[in-house]
């Protein structure tokens, strides 16, 4: 009875939302402001020639800074909830079939990542795409049973995770100390600084995204129980 009620009310809410959305998409007003044209006008001064990258790392770079912080928050929680080494089960053997394929694919993916990073300033691509490809390569290696370095509590791991943010912050605070607005790059250096940030972000995003996969708890139920008993 309760379930039916739940389904009915959920259905009603969803249908209402769908209808409302449908309606406003149909009668949408035309906005008077066009930020797109502002972007086009300011693009030459941004230090990059690809407009999406310009928005991400220059015009709205502050959004990106906070976004990196969001990623870091997730990574930190993952690290905090990571299994103790003793409780971790050995690497999977489930997807061994992928093995041969992966061995060839992984180096290729690293190359792709490098390309995407470099491409970002002039055409589609950039730190996020590059970083996620990097992470994807690591995940594939891991799934194929290979021992990829764990992203654990070591300083090296934490350093790699925060590398991008540290670089980003250095630039940000540097601009402030130079008397500029936050993340207001000097015109001459804009391109270089953006590339610097992106390169650092690529590594960190790759490491963080992989860590989110790698640090997902593996512990067996029985392990956890024995662990708890040990604690007592």
């Amino acid at each position: 009875m309760k379930r039916r009620y739940r389904h009915l009310s959920a259905g009603a809410v969803s249908v209402a939302l769908g209808a409302a959305l449908w309606h406003v998409v149909r009668v949408r007003p035309t906005p008077s402001v066009s930020v797109a044209s502002l972007v086009a006008d300011a693009l030459p001064a941004s230090g990059v020639s690809h407009n999406v990258t310009a928005v991400l790392l220059n015009f709205r770079s502050y959004d990106t800074l906070l976004e990196v912080a969001v990623l870091l928050a997730a990574a930190v929680v993952a690290l905090a909830l990571r299994d103790e080494p003793s409780a971790r089960s050995p690497a999977h053997v489930m997807y061994v079939a992928l093995d041969a394929f992966v061995w060839r694919l992984a180096p290729l993916l690293v190359l792709v990542a490098a390309y995407l990073l470099w491409a970002g300033s002039t055409r589609p691509g950039g730190a996020f795409q590059a970083g996620s490809v990097l992470a994807g390569a690591a995940v594939l290696l891991r799934l194929s049973g290979l021992k990829v370095t764990a992203v654990d509590h070591r300083l090296a791991s934490r350093g790699a995770m925060t590398f991008g943010l540290v670089m980003f912050l250095c630039v940000a605070i540097g601009t402030l100390l130079a008397g500029q607005a936050l993340l207001e790059y000097p015109a001459k250096w804009a391109g270089a600084l953006i590339l610097l940030i992106e390169a650092a972000l690529t590594i960190s995003i790759g490491v963080v995204l992989y860590s989110l996969f790698d640090n997902a708890p593996q512990a067996r139920v029985s392990d956890r129980e024995s662990e708890r008993q040990r604690e007592r």
Partner: protein, 100 residues
């Protein structure tokens, strides 16, 4: 009708469908699927409507890129919590909220 507008409609349908799924499922993974679909629909609406009749707009595209990264962070966080919780509780469905 432009392609942009069409994808906005698709986004609207996806959002509605995913909202229903989110509300009726209790299994956390299913809710995460619904969350990601809903995100996709929202992104389609954001880009589709903004570009409708005005050509490509880098601003919403950049926003969606941010949104995608945020979504994967949230999904990963949820999965980690779920797996840790599952290890002790043996369930994957959340206790009833009484709210949703």
């Amino acid at each position: 009708m432009s392609a942009d507008r069409l994808y906005a409609y698709v986004g609207a349908v996806l959002v509605a469908l995913a909202l229903y799924a989110f509300l009726v499922h209790t299994h956390v993974l299913r809710r995460l699927l619904a969350f990601n679909v809903m995100g996709g629909g929202t992104f389609l609406i954001l880009v589709g409507l903004a570009q409708d009749g005005r050509g490509p707009d880098p601003v919403p595209q950049a926003l969606v890129l941010t949104g995608i990264v945020v979504a994967v962070s949230a999904t990963a966080l949820a999965i980690i919590l779920l797996r840790r919780w599952f290890a002790t509780s043996q369930t994957t469905s959340l206790p009833e909220d009484g709210s949703s």
